[in-house]
Symmetry: C2
Subunit: 235 residues, 2 copies
DNA sequence: ACCTGAACACCGTTCAAGT
DNA sequence: ACCTGAACACCGTTCAAGT
């Protein structure tokens, strides 16, 4: 609100022109998406409502619908923005394996910064954001020398794995309220696992200690490496 | 509605006892979950509302809240019911690899029969249903002779992959309305991929033909095998 | 062409009141 | 103890009306 009063550029008024806002306050799809991302980052998935958007943008809901067809389209656009930026930043090294690891880690970091992305990716896997990841991973599978018939399977396996993490990452984030942070929540899960009936769940019980200490980013990468190792055996 | 009039057993009336329904129409958590599953199977995730439940069960919403704390708990219980049954049915063979493949396929078939499960699994991965899958897969990793420190990583990778598929499977199901079935929708995605700019998305473009013909169940299993092959290299 | 905001058709959840 | 159903506090979306 207050920040709107400063730095507002308006087109010079002529006789019959109304005040048209062309400054940074001008409504546009880009600005709507930008503010949507801010709301999502600050308050999580539940925080993004048309009510919240209209007050932040100081307009009516109809104005938003002029630029955006639905909430789903808005979320897809927001996801696309964030993922495009992340994927394009990835260094294409000469070593395909390294590049695949780099994309994977880049997406992990995006999920960490914007956990709501996880829900979005797994909710609509045919959207542009997922296609970009798939393309990038697929190209590297080619570069790896995977036979043509197997390239599709390999890329799909990697994507499946990445989207699996995305969903779980977002799920944890959804449960975190103000006070509890991620590691505190995982701590809770660990104690829960430790208390599980060892007769019925021997493996879960045994692994609870490792769960408490494990680094999520490291484990995620370990999984990628497992799939890459599997791909290598097929050649 | 009509089926309620038949076969209703009631406790014999004594002076001060009211008509208490102990027959199959008696309200109970089990019956609520059972009907919820029926609604979900028939109409998808959106179909399950308290309004729909109350009319099907012929009660008020308060009655449901007497047995169930929230919609989330209801969905978790429904997921748990279905997954427990599926996991318990899996034959524990002497070959761990075969058992892992069997669980994976069993879950694939569950997703196919109840696509709403997919959303649920990836929305709350710490719930009992996911724990059961994790336990089963983890035990097989142990049986496989994976060193203890690596067992957790391996089981987590497999679970991640399975939950990735779960999310995507549910996503497609969500988009399917009455007339379009799954293969028709995938056909649509395939043509979309074929029309993508070959300069920007060479891999996606090339792979579009394979996408059209691929068998989802087979591809899912291929991914499991890839991870299993990767696990094997670490020993 | 773009914006306003009341109104609509839904949700999940609560709760005073009944039996 | 269990059930009823109106009421509440939300949603996303629409649309007649304004400029």
């Amino acid at each position: 609100m207050e920040q709107h009063s400063r730095l507002v550029k308006t087109v010079p008024m002529t006789k019959h022109s109304k005040t048209i806002n062309t400054g940074k306050d001008a409504l546009s799809k880009a600005r709507i998406i930008k503010v949507a991302i801010e709301i999502l980052d600050a308050g999580g998935e539940d925080a993004l409502t048309f009510r919240a958007l209209t007050t932040r943008l100081a307009t009516g809901s109809g104005a938003i619908y002029w630029y955006v067809a639905s909430k789903d389209e808005m979320l897809a656009a927001a996801t696309n923005d964030v993922i495009t930026q992340a994927v394009s930043k990835v260094e294409r090294t000469t070593e395909p394996r390294a590049t695949i690891r780099a994309v994977a880690l880049s997406i992990f970091d995006v999920l960490d910064a914007h956990p709501w992305i996880g829900t979005q990716l797994s909710r609509a896997p045919w959207q542009s954001a997922v296609l970009q990841i798939f393309e990038c991973v697929g190209e590297q599978c080619q570069a790896l020398g995977v036979p043509e018939e197997a390239q599709f399977h390999c890329a799909a396996a990697l994507i499946n794995y990445v989207l699996g993490l995305a969903g779980q990452y977002a799920a944890v984030a959804r449960l975190m309220t103000r006070e509890t942070n991620r590691s505190a929540f995982l701590e809770q899960v660990a104690t829960q696992w430790a208390q599980v009936d060892p007769a019925a769940y021997p493996f879960v019980h045994q692994v609870a200690a490792q769960f408490r200490e494990h680094d999520e980013r490291e484990q995620f990468l370990a999984g990628i490496d497992l799939i890459l190792a599997g791909i290598a055996t097929g050649q």
